[in-house]
């Protein structure tokens, strides 16, 4: 079976800048896929290439095996939930949701029924007559979702859909989106810069940096076995130990990642100087310097917090150190 989406050597150039640089990636049908990366990493451009708002400078985008490189957005079996929701301000919620059906020529009673059903699905019944300006951010988000899903797309694209919501609402929506994706069984492609969001929601994650994919894998793989120092730092706020230091400790000349929560402060081990501490609530983050490498250590609540300037010894279990063997130098 052909993958839902495939990028085949896709490059998108804006002037001199390569927003997406030789991207090759398959997204399977029914997958909840996250594109994760900092702003300007090419994740949103990749999504827009699938939606058809951008055309590749080089390469091909296939949707269910069909070359969609020259297909306009309005002929693609995908729908998008926009970052700013892009609700039509002159239409009420019902007409916003029914927009796709209206342009497809569905008669009024049928499309109104479908719109009401879609609003029911996103838990927003009874709002059909309101204008978008009368809704809260969370409600607009749900309308945008209903408006996309009412067209029964084969792939739903979500561009930072939770970015504008507050923490509590965001967590709730994460849960609902997951449930929705499972019950609909369609492919979700989700763009985010929030690693927590990507890890908790997605079946697979692609980590982007500077237009290139750094690593593709399940959340556990990406978190536990980062392929590059960038992934280690961006996805898990993991410590990256430079190759020289790793060589001295283990004899292997590769950079390695070391999770802050796996480091213990003990009587023996790597000597380090405390540079500062910040209180996080459930834990305290300690900043230390060892051999010129800055690292952070997560201390559980109640543990003794050493003073700034003190010398401590860092210790960890065998296997906590993950070698990034694909990279020669850190």
């Amino acid at each position: 079976m052909a993958p839902a989406i495939s990028f085949e050597g896709v490059t998108r150039q804006f002037g001199q800048v390569r927003a997406v640089d030789d991207l090759t990636l398959d997204i399977a049908e029914g997958e909840f896929f996250a594109m994760l990366g900092p702003s300007g990493s090419g994740k949103t451009t990749s999504l827009r290439l699938v939606a058809g708002f951008e055309r590749p400078t080089k390469g091909h985008v296939r949707i269910f095996g069909q070359d969609a490189t020259a297909t306009p957005p309005y002929r693609r079996p995908v729908n998008t939930v926009f970052q700013d929701y892009a609700l039509f301000p002159h239409l009420n919620v019902r007409d916003n949701v029914a927009f796709g059906l209206r342009v497809a020529g569905v008669p009024k009673p049928a499309r109104h029924r479908a719109a009401e059903a879609a609003l029911e699905m996103v838990k927003l019944p009874g709002y059909a007559d309101r204008k978008p300006s009368e809704l809260s951010g969370g409600q607009r988000q749900r309308v945008a979702l209903a408006r996309a899903l009412v067209n029964q797309p084969k792939v739903l694209l979500l561009d930072e859909p939770l970015g504008a919501l507050d923490l509590k609402l965001r967590e709730q929506m994460q849960e609902e989106l997951k449930t929705l994706q499972r019950s609909l069984g369609i492919t979700f492609v989700f763009v985010t810069h929030d690693q927590g969001e990507a890890l908790s929601m997605a079946d697979r994650v692609a980590v982007f940096n500077e237009g290139r994919i750094q690593q593709v894998g399940t959340p556990v793989e990406v978190y536990d076995r980062p392929a590059t120092p960038f992934v280690a730092d961006f996805v898990g706020s993991s410590n990256v130990l430079p190759a020289a230091l790793v060589a001295r400790l283990t004899g292997q000349h590769h950079p390695a990642s070391l999770r802050p929560e796996r480091i213990r402060i003990g009587a023996t081990g790597l000597a380090a100087t405390v540079a500062g501490a910040s209180f996080l609530g459930a834990a305290t983050r300690l900043f230390v310097e060892a051999d010129g490498a800055r690292m952070s250590v997560l201390l559980p609540k109640g543990a003794h917090v050493p003073d700034t300037g003190a010398t401590v010894h860092l210790d960890w279990d065998e296997g906590a150190l993950h070698m990034m063997t694909g990279v020669q130098d850190g």
């Binding site: 939606a51 708002f53 306009p72 957005p73 039509f88 996309a148 067209n151």
Partner: protein
Amino acid sequence: MGPVAQVSDALWRRPRVLLLLLLLPPLLWLGIVYLGSLFALLAQSFFSIDEFSGLINYEFTLRTYGELFRAANLDIILRTLAMATSVTIAAAIVAFPIAYYAARYARGRWKALFYLGIMLPLWSSYLVKVYAWKLILAREGILNWLFETLHLDWLLAAYLSIPVLGGNSLSVSWTGTFLVFLYVWLPFMILPIQAALERIPPSLLEAAGDLGADRGQTLRYVILPLALPGIVAGSIFTFSLTLGDYIVPQIIGTSARMIGQAVYQFQGTAGNIPLAAAFAVVPIVIMGIYLTVARRMGAFNAL
């Protein structure tokens, strides 16, 4: 602390006083000079003229308004209304693509060029432009020459032979008046439409495409409704400016008068101030009706 600083501090503590001081001169100007003369005009329209002596009879009457409905006067009103309507519709059709290009595609230097192109004609005298058009449209003018050179003079002749629209030459035809009005008021239509189009977020157009709307459907269901306040704003300019103008039809067009010319003649040579005033009230009433209808149709909902 100097006196200036003291005044400044006092005004800081009483912002309303500062606001009042700033608003007082323009309010006085509007109140006395502008509204005052408008009411003087309104008052005049309720007087009448004595047919024999030509003197104004200062008694309240609606007779002067009744005179507006005489066939000759009603003709003037309907002719002006038809002209204003066609100029407005044509201006909207011509202005929209220009405004759309400027709002969506023009950037940097091209945008500057756009504004210059729109504003430049406004810097020169309106009279100069109208006379320039007379030369363009005249029988010996450049347009005639162009048609002759292209061996299309039969086409122009055929057009000029159409009753009402045509005439001896374009410069003395209804079409000529229409073209010049269209030219002189076009910037007033382009700028508000462009402002309205610039306020449409590009993501809305992408969303329409994403939901399956082709270019035409996006225009009909998204762009036009959102640009409507701009189109209405522009049409208020073109419509009211055409309704009241008396110079363009004087210089270019047929001998049939428009409202502005009627006002000019009744208050001048004819000395019939009450009828001139009644005529002057007509565009005000028409604009009032127009704005009410536009409001009812929801033209300002997206503001």
